[in-house]
């Protein structure tokens, strides 16, 4: 066994990605939505790493670093909004804040 073929890694990434996506679409609770978001980001990072190590270039990992900063920034803002949602609307249901329509 001389190593992991790249497309296996990418398949793993896409599985994780679609799972995160499904979670995003299914759950109405804001917390779960944010968590699925994290999974998708993580899957993307995995794909970067897989690519980078396959070609033997450090760009993959550097890019992963950026993915993580992005995830951190996004998570913090997301959670702040979550708190506001809970405090103002007394619920975590994303459908409650759907007045921007029509």
């Amino acid at each position: 066994m001389n190593g992991v073929p790249l497309d296996h890694a990418l398949v793993l990434a896409s599985i994780l990605f679609t799972l995160g996506l499904a979670g995003l679409m299914i759950r109405r609770n804001m917390v779960f939505v944010l968590m699925s978001l994290e999974i998708m980001l993580n899957a993307a990072g995995l794909a970067f790493i897989a690519g980078g190590t396959a070609w033997g270039q450090p760009e993959g990992q550097a890019m992963f670093l950026l993915v993580i900063t992005l995830a951190a920034a996004e998570a913090s803002v997301g959670l702040a909004l979550l708190i506001q949602l809970n405090q103002r609307f007394k619920t975590l249901d994303t459908d409650a804040v759907s007045r921007m329509r029509g």
């Binding site: 996506l21 299914i26 939505v33 994303t94 459908d95 759907s98 921007m100 329509r101 029509g102």
Partner: protein, 617 residues
């Protein structure tokens, strides 16, 4: 000599311009004076032209300037004078002058006299142009100008809407005829490349053999134009309503000049018509049919002017009959004499109407012959000429000439129609005179009628009376070189026909006298019940043509106008606006505000794109 020719039409034009630009500053007498003077001078110029022509009878052409010159379309403003146009010119300016004079008396006290004389001068100007025009486009200019003036003059009393609509109807019906004439012009120009009448008639025989389809079509179209203007059968419904205008107008336009324009056109283009024998025969047939239809219709009229209008229609039917029989000079001779006695009848009728305070209905007139001696004399002399009383009246010679030419040319049917027409004419003429002048006065208008005074009233009537007698018949029009010479026939047959014609005329008069003097009561009850009444009403509405046209053409047109009033086609483009609004509503439904729905649609879109990319490449 050549400056006289343009003078004949420039003078009336000057009169019109003077009167119309005066902006109401001219009084009644001044405008009557200007109007009559301009036509009088023009008559003087015509007299000089006639004298000059009689010495040296050759065609004069005076070209003012080329109207348009584009490629070979070169119509010029040229005036051509020969025997035919001279005769017409004489009639127009002569009779025109007398009518202008009479109008001074007739229109006294009316408002807007300046406007009246401006239109009358404009009419004489257009009619002279029509007669003198040497190319068809100039003739068309006169043709339409005359139509417009007849519209303006019929609608002179514009305050009552009915007169306005009568004028409107007259113009539209004649305009239909003008369109046929225009299409004829287009056809002639395309085929012969010129509009100049002389060149046209020269090239026509070279290009077409007798009876060729194009020349038949061209002649038919010209005939269509003539029918419209001369109020012959299919396009005749406007003449009876045209009586809404003042009586001098009816005398000038609807008796002497405009209605004879059609006869002049066919006489002027006779070479073309000779090339199309079927159309010529058609002309004769139409003339005969109009002759009879108008004759019967005149029998059942109650308004003096309408009786005279139908009698004009039937006399022009005579002229068309003469043209159809190829007797062009007999038609023009009858045109001249008819102008005299019909103008006399109309002016006398005008005198009666004014004297009886604008009462036109015969049933309320009567017993006037002692109160209005001059009008009565005018009616008697004019009526006699109309009924063609033998030897004494001008009408006899001209009508007899037509009947003889019809016989000599072998058109038996036309001859019979002519004789029946003569019989009808004598009946309705005597009926008119008896009902208007004899018996007792049936209304106070008639009782307090006072005779018209003054020269303007008397002179025209007397002059026309003289011209309506056999003296008028001496003025044989100088048509020697211009129109083809008449058919020859044995003198015996000629005298036999004269005797038959005069017997028919006298018989008609006797029958009318017997009916309307002795058997008035029997006649009244005959025409008031059963088939008599229906027949009387049918003739009263001139065989129902008018109602047929109204229901068949006019009413559907107005229905479509009201149907399309709000511009349906433009409404079509309103649909575009509605579609835009609908797409807006459709798309705004997708903005539900729910986060998950957006996620779902994004994923769906992404999958779709990836699928398409994957499959496509």
């Amino acid at each position: 000599m050549s400056f006289l020719l343009p003078l004949t039409f420039l003078l009336p034009l000057a009169g019109t311009l003077l009167l119309s630009l005066s902006r109401g500053r001219l009084g009644e007498r001044a405008s009557a004076a200007i109007g009559t003077a301009s036509v009088g001078l023009s008559a003087l110029a015509t007299a000089a032209l006639i004298a000059g022509y009689l010495e040296a009878p050759e065609r004069q052409v005076v070209t003012l300037w080329t109207w348009v010159s584009v490629g070979d379309f070169q119509p010029t403003l040229g005036l051509a004078l020969d025997g035919l146009s001279l005769t017409l010119l004489g009639v127009i300016t002569g009779v025109g002058l007398l009518i202008h004079l009479f109008a001074a008396w007739y229109m006294r006290g009316e408002s807007g006299i300046t406007r009246f004389y401006a239109y009358m001068n404009l009419f004489v100007f257009s009619m002279v142009l029509l007669v003198l025009g040497d190319n068809l486009l100039l003739l068309f200019l006169g043709w339409e100008g005359v139509g417009l003036c007849s519209y303006l003059l019929i609608g002179y009393y514009y305050r009552t809407a009915a007169n306005g609509w009568a004028a409107f109807k007259a113009f539209i019906v004649t305009r239909v005829g003008d369109v046929f004439l225009a299409i004829g012009l287009f056809l002639l120009f395309r085929e012969l490349g010129t509009l100049n009448i002389a060149q046209l008639l020269e090239r026509a025989p070279q290009l077409w053999a007798e009876g060729a389809p194009t020349v038949e079509l061209a002649a038919l179209l010209l005939l269509g134009g003539a029918l419209g203007k001369s109020a012959q059968l299919p396009l005749h419904t406007w003449l009876a309503d045209a009586m809404a205008g003042p009586t001098p107008v009816s005398a000038l336009i609807h008796a002497a000049t405009m209605v004879t324009a059609g006869v002049y056109l066919i006489a002027r283009m006779h070479e073309l018509f000779l090339l199309a024998p079927d159309v010529l025969l058609l002309t004769g047939v139409i003339g005969a049919l109009t002759l009879l239809a108008a004759g019967f219709a005149a029998l059942a009229q109650t308004d003096i002017k309408r009786v005279l209008a139908y009698s004009t229609m039937s006399q022009i039917g005579y002229m068309f009959l003469a043209l159809g029989a190829g007797a062009f000079d007999a038609a023009i001779f009858h045109l001249m004499t008819h102008a005299f006695f019909k103008a006399l009848l109309f002016l006398s009728a005008g005198a009666v109407i004014v004297s009886c305070h604008h009462e036109q209905d015969m049933r309320r007139l009567g017993g006037l012959w002692r109160k209005l001696p001059l009008a009565y004399a005018g009616f008697v002399v004019g009526g006699a000429a109309l009924a063609a009383l033998p030897l004494v009246t001008a009408g006899f010679y001209s009508k007899d000439e037509i009947l003889w030419q019809a016989l000599a040319a072998g058109h038996g049917g036309l001859l019979v129609a002519g004789l029946v027409g003569a019989f009808l004419t004598s009946i309705y003429t005597l009926r008119l005179i008896i009902k208007t002048f004899h018996g007792e006065a049936k209304s106070d208008n008639a009782r307090h009628a006072e005779a018209g005074q003054g020269l303007a009233h008397g002179v025209p009537l007397i002059v026309l009376m003289v011209l309506s007698t056999f003296l008028g018949a001496w003025l044989t029009p100088p048509l020697a070189g211009v129109l083809p010479d008449p058919h020859e026939g044995s003198a015996g047959w000629h005298t036999a026909l004269e005797i038959v014609a005069s017997l028919v005329a006298l018989g008609g008069l006797a029958l009318a006298a017997w009916l309307f003097l002795r058997r008035r009561k029997w006649l009244a009850e005959q025409t008031s019940q059963g088939w008599g009444a229906r027949l009387w009403r049918w003739w009263h509405h001139a065989w129902g043509f008018d109602t047929a046209y109204d229901r068949g053409l006019v009413r559907p047109y107005w229905r479509t106008v009201h149907a399309l009033r709000s511009d349906r086609v433009d409404g079509l483009f309103g649909l575009v606006a509605i579609m835009v609004r609908m797409t807006h509503l459709g798309l705004s439904w997708t903005q539900t505000g729910k986060l998950r729905f957006y996620g779902l649609s994004m994923v769906g879109g992404a999958t779709l794109v990836i699928l398409v990319l994957a499959l496509v490449r």
